[in-house]
Amino acid sequence: MTTSAAPSPAAVTDADSLISMRGIKKVFITDEVETHALTEVHLDVQQGEFVAISGPSGCGKTTLLSILGLLDATTDGEYRLAGEPVSDLSPAERARVRNRQIGFIFQAFNLIGDLTVYENVELPLTYRTGDAALDATERRRRVIDALERVGMSHRTNHYPAQLSGGQQQRVAVARAVAGEPAILLADEPTGNLDSQNGEAVMQLLQELHKGGATICMVTHDPRYAEYADRSVHLFDGRVVEDTTHDEKRRAARAGTTVQA
C-alpha cells in the first residue's frame, strides 16, 4: 500500500488551503477524567477536494468533523478556514462563519418532520443576519435551485415522512448546498440507507464534487470512501494515513484482480 506520512508540524503552511489545521488537540474533561479525542492533527484540504475521513470508532473522526464544522472549539492548535483563523473565535463568531461557509449532511438526515421539503431547505438560510441576510426572493431562488440539483424539486410540499430514506437524504443535501457553502461536511451520510440508496447519495456527492464542491466525509465504510479522491485515516486521535485516490487505485491494481 502506498502511504504518505502525515505532514510534520514543521511542514510549510499552504496559504491557499481551504482548510489548514496545525497541531489540533481536543481534550474532553468529564468527572475529572481527561479524554484525548484528538492528540495532534495536521490536515490541509484544497479547494475542490473530496476527502474521506475514516477510522475505527473512537478514533476521533466525529470530533474532527465537529471541529472542522465549527460546532466545537479546539483545545489547542491552529485552524484556518479560507485563510481566516477560526480557532480562537467566540461561539457567536463561530456560528456566523459556520452558517456562511459550511453545509452539513448528517447520518440521520436531520430533517424536521413537520416542516415541508421546501421549508427544511430554506431553514438555514433564514438564520443569516446582517450583511449576509438573504431576502425572500433570493432564498426562494436558492431553495429551488438546490432542490433541482438533487432532483427533488417536484416534492417541495411533501413532508419527510412521505419520502424514502434516499429521498430524505437528497433533501438534506439540498439543504446543505442551498447556503452555497465553501465546504460540505458529511457525517456517515449513507449510514441509515440501504446499499442502493447509499450508492445514489454517493453519486450525488460525486456530481457536486465534479461541479466544484469541496467535500469532507466521515465514513467507516471503505466502499463509500472509494468515491472520494483522497482518504485520510485516523487512529487514536492522529492522522496515520493520507492517501490519494490514484495511489489507492495503483495499490488496488497491484494487489487484487480488477472486477468488471
Binding site: P91, A95, F104, N110, G113, D114, L123, Y127, A161, Q162
Partner: protein, 240 residues
C-alpha cells in the same frame, strides 16, 4: 366559525359526551403496487377527547406511524373522514392543512429532529418562525420554555453537546412552544435508556395533566401505562 363547527360535531354525539378533539371515520390508506393495492390502514374509526393521553401500539409494520402521520396531517393520501376540532381535514388543501396543523399540533420524534448546527435556543425558535409569530413574542416564548424546562444554562449549546435525554427534552420543548392542543409523539423514548425514558414520560404526563392531549406511538408497555387508553393495530386494522 370554530364554535359553529364545534356545535355541529356536538350535535352528532350524545349530550353527555364532550365534542371530540379529533374523530376518524373509516380511514383507509392503500399503496398501489403491480399486484393490486396493499392496505396500510383499514377502516380506522376512532374518537379522541380533549385531555386524553392515548397510546397506539402494535407490531412493526402494523400502520402505527402511518396513522400518526395522517393525524399530524403530514400524510394526506388516505380515504375516509378526519375531523380535527370540527375541521374536515380530509377536504382541506395542503395550505389549509398546514395552517391547521401548525395551530393545533406539536410533534415529538424518536430521532429528535433537532438541527445540529443550531443551538438549543435557535432550535426552539424554528416552529415559531413558521407560525408567523412576531419577533419579541418569539423571544419571550423561547425564554419562557427554556425556563420551564430548566434549560436556561444550555441554551447556547449544540445538540451533540447534550445527552440523548436532554436532546429529547429540547425536542419536547420545541413541540410545546407553539402551544398546541395536541402532541403527537412517535416512539419518543426509542433512543433513550430507561431512566431518561421515564423522565421524558413523566414530562408528558405533566403536560397532559395541564390540559394537552397526547397521542403516542410506542413499543413499550411501560410507556403505555402513562396513558389513559391504548389502541392496538395489527396489519392496518384496529383490534377490538
Amino acid at each position: 366559525m370554530r364554535s359553529e363547527l364545534d356545535q355541529d360535531t356536538r350535535a352528532l354525539g350524545t349530550a353527555a359526551t364532550p365534542a371530540p378533539l379529533l374523530s376518524l371515520r373509516n380511514i383507509e390508506k392503500g399503496i398501489r403496487t403491480t399486484g393490486g393495492v396493499t392496505y396500510v390502514l383499514r377502516r380506522i374509526t376512532l374518537d379522541v377527547a380533549p385531555g386524553e393521553f392515548m397510546t397506539i401500539m402494535g407490531p412493526s409494520g402494523a400502520g402505527k406511524s402511518t396513522l400518526l402521520a395522517i393525524l399530524g396531517m403530514l400524510d394526506a393520501d388516505f380515504t375516509g373522514e378526519y375531523h380535527l376540532r370540527g375541521h374536515p381535514v380530509h377536504a382541506l388543501n395542503h395550505v389549509q392543512r398546514r395552517a391547521l396543523a401548525r395551530e393545533h399540533i406539536g410533534f415529538v420524534f424518536q430521532q429528535y429532529h433537532l438541527l445540529d448546527e443550531l443551538t438549543v435556543a435557535e432550535n426552539l425558535h424554528v416552529p415559531l418562525d413558521y407560525r408567523g409569530i412576531g419577533k419579541s413574542e418569539r423571544a419571550a416564548r423561547v425564554a419562557d420554555v427554556l425556563d420551564r424546562f430548566n434549560m436556561v444554562g444550555k441554551k447556547d449549546l449544540y445538540p451533540r453537546q447534550l445527552s440523548g435525554g436532554q436532546q429529547q427534552l429540547v425536542g419536547i420543548a420545541r413541540a410545546v412552544i407553539g402551544e398546541p392542543s395536541l402532541i403527537l409523539a412517535d416512539e419518543p423514548t426509542g433512543n433513550l435508556h430507561s431512566a431518561q425514558a421515564r423522565e421524558i414520560m413523566e414530562l408528558f404526563a405533566r403536560l397532559n395533566a395541564a390540559g394537552t392531549t397526547i397521542i403516542q406511538v410506542t413499543h413499550s408497555e411501560e410507556n403505555a401505562r402513562f396513558g389513559h387508553r391504548t389502541i392496538n393495530l395489527k396489519d392496518g386494522w384496529m383490534e377490538p
